[in-house]
């Protein structure tokens, strides 16, 4: 840990005085070594929540989780004083780093609008990811350590690919890509004004990708690259994330996924609870909007705040994704989880929905999403309950490295906090 980081971590008023640096050798301490002592560790893993527990990190990897661990000489030690320690949170399906100002198209790279041949599954938004985006620290200081970059439906109902990025400033995604598509009324205008055509077009794309339509067919929907991409997903590599709300559409999706043997997940899923048993049986995770209870469209007539709880009770793996301003306000994802708890989802499962479940659903569960030896030390120490908006993240570590708890917003805040009169 550099002296500068320590100053920023411990010199600022935003950090509670109870976090104390006990030992840090003048030289030799690795920036990615750390002992967090006496935390309430919510592992989001098999061991559940552990009181009075230490977490030892070496080289950015969690080494041990247990009581009274010894700190090797010179290691940075953080006293948690019983406060909650969680895995760094999932920020939802967002456009962090692929959009800067939503209303300014010159800053937005999440959406492909090609007039001719709009169906381009090979489109990959991770290539546009900008780790220097101001959105990255804004989300990170709130305890968010990773997000699923999502391609956004523009020219076609198949939006393209995204992937998981960790918000540590690294340039590249980790894990496999995911393919995004949208079904139902929200995509009908892209499919000839009927949701029925979505299955027609999807079937033809599958036929092309499986080689059942000649590459030189004048009716081809996909480019050669698109066929290759889609065939990867049809072979079970990577998950297809489907934004869909109406129960009848979800039923069709489950049939299609079973027939084509593809891994799918649902995003939104306002009426998913009506098919909870089927979703559980098919092992389809659902990213729910935990605040959605209005029939914003006719696809969402069955929307309820109990969606997450009902899905969970049936055995569905539940995570969270926002409608609305998911990227700039990714931090609101904690509020979704907390409200799901208020409406019946067990607390531990709500936390899992922000950590282990999305990591596994996106194919990166071996590396992140829980506090277990061997996992990356992506950790957050909280001032209080992480699922309650009444509390905040005190310190975030990614890969064992203490992240500066600063963002463009804290800079603005501090400028005007100090100012006593408006000029």
């Amino acid at each position: 840990m550099s002296a500068d980081t320590i100053t920023r971590m411990f010199g600022g008023a935003w950090l509670g005085p109870a976090v104390m640096l006990l030992a840090c050798a003048a030289g030799g301490a690795n920036a990615q070594d750390l002992l967090i002592r006496n935390a309430t560790v919510h592992t989001a893993g098999a061991r559940g929540s552990l009181d009075n527990t230490d977490v030892l990190v070496r080289g950015g990897i969690i080494q041990a989780v247990g009581p009274a661990l010894a700190a090797p000489a010179g290691m940075t030690v953080v006293e948690a004083d019983g406060r909650p320690l969680t895995p760094a949170l999932f920020g939802g399906i967002t456009e962090i780093g692929i959009e800067e100002v939503s209303g300014e198209s010159s800053t937005v790279d999440s959406t492909l609008k090609l007039g001719e041949q709009p169906l381009r599954p090979e489109f990959d938004v991770t290539l546009a990811y900008n780790p220097a985006s101001v959105l990255v620290p804004v989300a990170r200081v709130e305890g968010i350590g990773f997000t699923a970059l999502g391609a956004h439906t523009g020219g076609g109902f198949v939006a393209g690919q995204g992937g998981v990025v960790r918000l540590d400033g690294s340039a590249d995604p980790i894990g496999p890509r995911a393919l995004y598509l949208r079904l139902g009324s929200a995509a009908a205008e892209l499919t000839g004004q009927s949701r029925a055509a979505q299955w027609m077009l999807l079937q033809q794309m599958v036929d092309e990708a499986r080689g059942r339509v000649g590459a030189d067919s004048p009716h081809a929907l996909l480019t050669p690259a698109g066929r290759r991409t889609l065939s990867d997903y049809l072979a079970g590599n990577g998950r297809i994330i489907v934004e869909v709300d109406r129960a009848s559409d979800i039923r069709q999706l489950l049939r299609w996924a079973a027939r084509e043997k593809v891994k799918v997940a649902i995003a939104g899923g306002a009426e998913a609870w009506q098919l909870a048993a089927e979703l559980a049986q098919a092992h389809v995770p659902v990213f729910v909007d935990g605040l959605g209870n209005l029939p914003g469209t006719f696809d969402q007539i069955g929307a309820t705040l109990e969606n997450a709880a009902r899905l969970h009770r049936a055995g569905v793996e539940v995570s969270f994704a926002q409608s609305g301003d998911a990227s700039h306000n990714a931090r609101k994802v904690r509020q979704l989880a907390g409200n799901a708890v208020a409406h019946g989802l067990p607390w531990a499962d709500a936390l899992a929905g922000l950590t282990r479940v999305p990591a596994q659903a996106m194919g990166v569960g071996e590396r992140i999403g829980s506090i277990e030896p061997g996992k990356l030390a992506d950790l957050v120490l909280w001032e209080g309950d992480p699922l309650d908006v009444a509390h905040y993240a005190e310190q975030v570590w990614l890969g064992g490295r203490a992240m500066p708890m600063r963002s463009r917003q804290t800079e603005l805040r501090d400028r005007y906090l100090r100012r006593t009169a408006s000029p």
Partner: protein
């Protein structure tokens, strides 16, 4: 200055009346009057709760007595007769009913189909002639969900496409077949204005004015110049000042302005201080411009809405007695929202005589104004600002909101004589886990989370309820 005083003082007096008094300016006559009738209900003693009065006070283990639709008494160990129903609030918190100063419920209802898009009259940049109430669909299922979030009153506004979008209306959040039956008796109208990107994008995009921010300001000024002239033409002049060349001399009853102009009626009502000005305005510099505009034409700004940069102008807003109705955390969705910070409300709240308000502009947000405030309290604590107490934060969505809407004589606090608009929460309301248990409007319990009465079900939901 005269107009400023009139706006500041006159409105408070006006708001006491149940309808515009006889002799009220013709600009604010109401052919669509409120038909709201309080349902009354039994006397209720909410006892042994943690009471946030909305006046900045917190009373622990305290009681609130409601009778005849009014708050009768607030204090410890209140005595009440056997006829009074008792609500045990041990472990629960009691607050005034929440008030959202910025809602589009009813005018942009759920489901959001094309036929329901009634919030923006995007056909001209100044549509002060339109009234949001004429677009309100009382069957919007969002009303009941807002009620479940503790919201008892709200201002429904036109959208922000226009420089002047039209009149807003303050409603009581009661289930009704007509909007008149929701219309808050005696509440003054608001007018919705908008700064910045929206008007210039909507009209500039069509190749018509305004296409720039300077075009926006020219548009407001032209409209208020017309309104000033309209007032002059419609004001009965003392006989000694009559001139033979007075053009409108033959008009009836001293109203010499000729044919009524609905657009100018609204703007004249603004200048005369009878219609309250609510301005959608994000940037601090534009708020300053609008304050100068208000001075130029002699009106007062009741509140800036959305103001993500209000924190940069907090002292001026407080000094001028202008409220700022804000989100806790929305930012970045457009350029004028790029400087949003989570401490905005806390910084606006900081100066003496400030008027910070939590607002929603959202059918989701209106259900959780309490949680928005909770975020602000946490952000302020993180920034090492002085502790914001629950009894203070509750004023952001009760007393301050009532003040901005001109209904502070009727609601917004738990004081004897006020309307019995009350929420009983399942705990501290400033939490993700907080839920309203019971919500009273004028003493009638319209929402009961765990009881058989439940919440109102709109006609739209019938036959497709979520069970």
């Amino acid at each position: 200055m005269h107009q400023l005083l009139r706006a500041g003082i006159g409105l408070a007096l006006l708001s006491l009346a149940s309808a515009p008094a006889t002799g009220a300016s013709r600009f604010i006559q109401d052919p669509y009057p409120s038909t709201y009738q309080p349902r009354g209900g039994e006397a209720v003693l909410i006892h042994n709760g943690t009471v946030l009065t909305g006046t900045g006070e917190r009373l622990d283990d305290a009681d609130v007595l409601l009778r005849d639709g009014k708050v009768v008494e607030v204090g410890r160990s209140l005595q009440a007769g056997a006829d009074v129903r008792r609500v045990d609030a041990r472990g629960r918190w009691v607050t005034p009913g929440l008030i959202d100063v910025h809602s589009h419920l009813g005018v942009y209802p759920s489901p959001g189909v094309g036929a329901h898009s009634d919030g923006n009259e995007m056909t001209a940049p100044v549509t002060a002639n339109v009234w949001a109430e004429h677009s309100v669909w009382p069957q919007d299922p969002g009303f009941a969900e807002a009620l479940a979030g503790g919201v008892t009153s709200m201002q429904v506004l036109p959208g922000s496409a226009n420089l002047v979008g039209g009149r807003g209306v303050t409603l009581k959040n009661v289930p009704a077949t007509t909007y008149q039956a929701m219309k808050f008796p005696g509440a003054p109208w608001g007018v919705k204005m908008a700064c910045g990107e929206n008007p210039k994008r909507v009209y500039g995009g069509k190749g018509t004015a305004p296409g720039t921010r300077m075009g926006n300001v020219a548009g407001y000024r032209a409209a208020f110049i017309d309104a000033s002239e309209y007032i002059a033409r419609n004001t009965a002049k003392p006989a000694k000042r009559k001139r033979w060349f007075s053009g409108d001399g033959d008009d009836s009853a001293g109203d010499s302005g000729g044919k009524r102009d609905l657009k100018l009626d609204t703007l004249a009502g603004v200048i005369q201080g009878d219609i309250r000005v609510h301005i959608h305005c994000y940037r601090a510099d534009e708020m300053s411009t609008m304050l100068d505009l208000a001075d130029e034409f002699g009106f007062k700004v009741a509140a800036f809405h959305h103001g993500v940069e209000a924190y940069k102008l907090a002292d001026r807003l407080a000094a001028d007695g202008v409220c700022a109705a804000l989100w806790a955390d929305w930012w970045g969705f457009k350029m004028e929202a790029f400087d949003g910070i989570q401490e905005n409300i806390a910084l606006v709240d900081r100066p003496a005589n400030s008027c910070a308000i939590v607002h929603s502009d959202s059918p989701e947000g209106i259900q959780r104004l309490n949680q928005e405030a909770a975020k602000v309290i946490a952000a302020a604590r993180r920034a090492d600002m002085p502790t914001i107490t629950p009894e203070h934060a509750i004023t952001w969505m009760t007393a301050n909101a009532a003040r901005a809407l001109g209904i502070e004589q009727q609601t917004g606090t738990l004081e004897p004589g006020k309307n019995a608009d009350v929420v009983v929460w399942n705990g501290n309301p400033f939490s993700s886990y907080a839920l309203a248990d019971e919500v009273f409007i004028d003493g009638f319990r319209y929402y009961d989370r765990t009881g058989p009465a439940g919440k109102p079900i709109s006609d739209f939901r019938l036959g497709q309820e979520v069970r």
